[in-house]
Symmetry: C2
């Protein structure tokens, strides 16, 4: 087995060296906001190896499935998950100005204990469930009006420029790119296309049961009281099964809740890519791993070390964090896709 693997790695290596020296790697830099280094190189090498005909690791387009966690992987999650912020802003009587660590901690404790997302799907005055269309309008309004306390910009501006480039690169390389998140899908779907270029039908998140009914001659969906699915930890692969039905060949996360998704993706046959974002840059973003109330990353780092997953060190690996920091000299086809800018 070891011999066979060595042989496989050797043939991949030879092919990669040939490709690097040839024309396959010519052209523009697909990841201009990434510093040259091991992380960027590993990503590009993987994409080239699975997409270039003649490569021993070639993967047919139909099997090129990539899954991304959302909070902390595609956008900042500090001082509080974006869904939690939505809950805090919407719920009456909850003071949550996020001005200091103590109020953040208190808000998180309250929100985790009461899990009020379901409540927000009902009209607080009448108790009637909102329709999916009513709820989407509310999320849209929230997006336009909620300012991040640190950056004084709409929270949705805090997406990662390097990850926008990575999503665009994968899509241009024939990948189908999904978000697989513990956040409620209904909260992400209204803006995922605009922010990331990932359409609602490619967002797999947690969900509340919905009910179909006819009102004034129109078929509508309204919310029930029961949770349908929580898409986290070992249930991320389950969510991938319900929503996609294929094992991804690449998976991207940032916390211990993403371990099983990355493990599921990287233990299939053939060349695979697992990647964790490590938040190491307090000056430009945040620095945290464990212990942390938000996006704890402890076991994931151990697993990554053992299993060869890439660990992105934000401080070292990323030239730019957010699209608004500076306008990257984007080359054709790789410009920032966040339409909120």
């Amino acid at each position: 087995m070891g011999g066979k693997m060595n042989c496989l790695y050797k043939s991949i290596l030879i092919w990669v060296l040939l490709a690097v020296s040839g024309s396959a790697f010519a052209g523009s830099d697909p990841l201009p906001s990434w510093n040259d280094g091991a992380s960027k190189k590993a990503v590009i090498t993987f994409v080239k190896a699975v997409t270039s005909k003649g490569s021993p690791s070639y993967v047919e387009p139909a099997e090129r499935i990539a899954t991304f966690d959302n909070d902390g992987t595609l956008m900042s999650e500090q001082p509080i998950y974006f869904q939690f912020l939505f809950e805090a802003v919407k719920l009456k009587g909850l003071s949550c100005d996020l001005a200091d660590n103590q109020s953040v901690k208190k808000a998180i404790e309250y929100l985790v204990a009461s899990d009020p997302f379901g409540e927000l799907l009902f009209d607080p005055d009448t108790g009637a469930p909102k329709t999916d269309e009513e709820f989407k309008a509310e999320v849209d309004s929230f997006l336009s009006n909620t300012i991040h306390p640190r950056f004084k910009r709409p929270f949705v501006d805090l997406v990662y420029q390097p990850m926008l480039e990575l999503i665009a690169y994968l899509k241009q390389s024939g990948f189908k790119v999904y978000i697989v998140t513990a956040t409620h899908g209904e909260f992400i779907r209204p803006w995922s296309e605009k922010a990331f270029g990932i359409p609602p039908e490619m967002v797999i998140g947690s969900s509340v049961k919905v009910k179909y009914e006819v009102k004034d001659g129109k078929g509508i969906l309204t919310w029930g009281k029961d949770v349908n699915f929580i898409c986290n930890g070992p249930d991320k692969p389950a969510g991938i099964n319900y929503g996609i039905g294929k094992r991804p060949i690449a998976a991207f996360g940032n916390s211990d809740g993403d371990i099983q998704m990355i493990e599921y993706a990287t233990t299939g046959k053939g060349l695979r890519l697992g990647l964790l974002i490590h938040h190491t840059d307090a000056a430009r973003e945040w620095a945290y791993d464990s212990p942390s109330d938000i996006g704890q990353l402890r076991d994931g780092l151990t697993e990554a070390g053992k299993k060869g997953w890439i660990v992105v060190d934000i401080k070292k690996d990323w030239k730019v964090i957010y699209p608004f920091e500076k306008k990257t000299q984007s080359k054709k086809g790789h410009k920032a896709v966040n339409a909120y800018q």
Copy 2:
């Protein structure tokens, strides 16, 4: 309201007449296996109206979602649903040669009452759950070996040539095309791409709960005992919500179990298309509607009449039923996509 609608219809009509007389309708026939008539005309008129820039009913590609039922809509479902046949063949001790109406009726009664699909996900000898990969291999083997009792061909050959053309036409017109079926998704996904050009990730079906675990260092999904979701009737719109998160603009079915899906699609804003297949051709396929043990269509016909859904009369509307009947003189880009042929 009535006046406004009349005005809208008038402007659509004027636009369609202009388009027909101009170059937009030039080119090859996208539905060569459909007889010229009201059904074909209605489908083509709808597609042109929602896809041509300048049309008052133009719909952006992102919103062009079409959902198809599977059994009886995309392929024959007589004398027994394909999943039931799979169950009958796989389950020990069940005699089901489907040779006469009585044995078919008995098999259906047994299979409906015992709902044995879940059983098939477990090894009958050890009781251990199969992995998703093991189960897919079993479905593949079934597809290669199961011969339809009437047509003496693999059952999967009994897909409808006119519907293959319709799927291809919609895809070429920028639609995202989904299967939304009461059949278990796991049973359809291994062959939907090959049969219909619809990849597994665009199949929304019934499901059994899955569990993630690590076995010999590999992350695998195995089946649980509990049903996760049954995707039928009023739960078809719910399945569409979980799997897509958008209201379709076109929906296609053949039985009363498809009413709510078509109603949901056709009661959104703007131009919509609802279509029911009516099985009227005993000589070339089957003739049935109500009462029927399989694919009952009674209320659907009433609804279609009231709401202006298209009812396809197979005998009148389809030149060819199956791809194997005769090789249609297919024009560029519209050939049969069923790779099983």
